[in-house]
Subunit: 297 residues, 2 copies
């Protein structure tokens, strides 16, 4: 991270003193509105995608549209929120029709209305933004910072399928199933079912090990993961198991539950929360070596 | 407008069937949330700005940040909304510190919190997006479509100051006052005061004549403007008076009031609403010739 960039993010944090911003350290803003007698908790997120940075050149614009929506809805899922609608920031490209097709399909699939947005021209690579607005279905709204020693660490599904999809798509292997990379499915139903039970929750967008480290840091605990317990996709070569743990884009939910609490949805127990030790994350008893995930600004 | 672009916008409209989207034809989305007994009306807008398209190369990033916020807040002003917060979509540039400085100053000036957003890298021109969230202070929320024959047409202030500022800035004339172009001030207080009284309201972002035409079309009336009554900035050469009417970026509010209703804020009566005639807009009795404003996608 360039020094100017770190200073910029720090400056933004200074402007985000409102409690709803959660210090810009969570997946979403959590804003209380309305009179006290009937207050409402809004959940807001805005994620961007840049051509050649966040998607492969030549990728189907319909898949790009789907992913833009899905990644933002995944942030809402991590808060147990019900989506209310989205606003699209769109720069025109060659094939706008395919993008519209994919966006329409994704909005219909997830039952979310398009509420507004803006369309502009740019001479540069296509740059997309999407704002998703939701309503909390349970309060307090889950955060990354509530994991407590003694809790179990859980995940809603395997990590690594998006990695395999990306690699097949990059290699032009049309026989492979690349759906997990191209059209991730945010865990909206699971997030709502889990919200009343979890002590901490987040979606895994940048790699399990990196996101688990972030949860540990936010909660001031150590997460001890059992590598044997982490679900991997069928067909993943054994040699790629470690890579799968630091690859992002799977959009499963990572969460912690108090001892004795069973998850109300399909999920895998992959570790335990310990009092904060020397390292925020242990994998098979030791701090993991190598990359933890995708570090971006 | 390229045919692909028109089809894209049409496709988006098809996805925006939710009444809150107002057919993507208004300045903002207007979303009812909460239980009926204590329902709340959210106002949402997302506007983008692209380097070299929406601002001059070499312009002070602090001014760009100010304008990005101000133009979005102006959309809220047109709805009489109280701003609740904003989310920023930011691509890193050379001078991120100056941008942060300008954004911080503008947020503080308008008393609006930064709630979240995203920061990404791009090899292309800087591309910015901002989502502004507000709460309606009056219902029904003003729209463009309520002007009725017999109403007066009003404006909160002069048009043309931004044009003069832009031209001085382009010419490198450092002696001129370019504030109106660089740091527009959304009419938030005026919008709130006007919302209970107006039959239609919008902000003037693309030129008075073009925006007045849009209001006329949405309301299915004719707006008859008196060119002598339209306020122009001090120092505007007489030869530029017509140009000022089709130049955007002034962000004054254009609104209609029933006969006999006086505006609760400084404003100028610039015309009258007529039943729909052959043309949506008359200027001194005839449809205006020449450009009406800035047509963008």
């Amino acid at each position: 991270m360039a020094s100017g960039e770190a200073a910029f993010i720090a400056a933004l944090r200074g402007m985000a003193a409102h409690p709803a911003a959660r210090g810009l350290a969570d997946d979403c803003a959590v804003l209380e509105v309305g009179p006290e007698s009937a207050s409402l908790t809004l959940i807001l997120t805005h994620d961007m995608m840049v051509e050649g940075v966040h998607w492969l050149p030549g990728q189907d614009p319909a898949d790009v549209a789907w992913k833009l929506l899905a990644t933002n809805l995944s942030d809402l899922a991590a808060k147990g929120a019900e989506p209310l609608g989205v606003l699209l920031g769109y720069t025109l490209a060659q094939d706008n029709a395919r993008f519209a097709e994919g966006l329409g399909a994704a909005l219909a699939h997830f039952g979310v209305p398009l509420l507004g947005g803006d369309t502009v021209r740019t001479p540069g690579p296509q740059t997309l933004g999407l704002t998703a607005l939701g309503r909390a279905t349970h309060r307090p709204v889950p955060s990354r910072s509530g994991a407590r020693a003694g809790d179990g660490v859980w995940i809603t599904g395997p990590v690594g399928a998006a990695m395999l999809g990306f690699e097949a798509l990059s290699a032009g292997d049309s026989s492979a199933n690349t759906t997990a990379y191209r059209r991730p499915v945010p865990r909206l139903g699971e997030g709502r079912a889990l919200a009343p039970l979890v002590t901490a929750m987040m979606d895994i967008s940048d790699g399990l090990l990196l996101d688990a480290t972030r949860m540990a840091e936010a909660s001031e605990v150590t997460l001890a993961l059992d590598p044997e317990a982490i679900p991997l996709p069928a067909g993943l070569p054994g040699s790629r198991a470690r890579d799968a743990l630091s690859w992002g884009d799977d959009y499963e939910l990572l969460f912690t539950l108090p001892p004795g609490t069973a998850p109300p949805c399909a999920a895998h127990r992959i570790g335990a929360v310990l009092p904060r030790g020397a390292a925020p994350l242990l994998l098979g008893g030791s701090p993991p070596e190598g990359p933890l995930g995708y570090e971006h600004c």
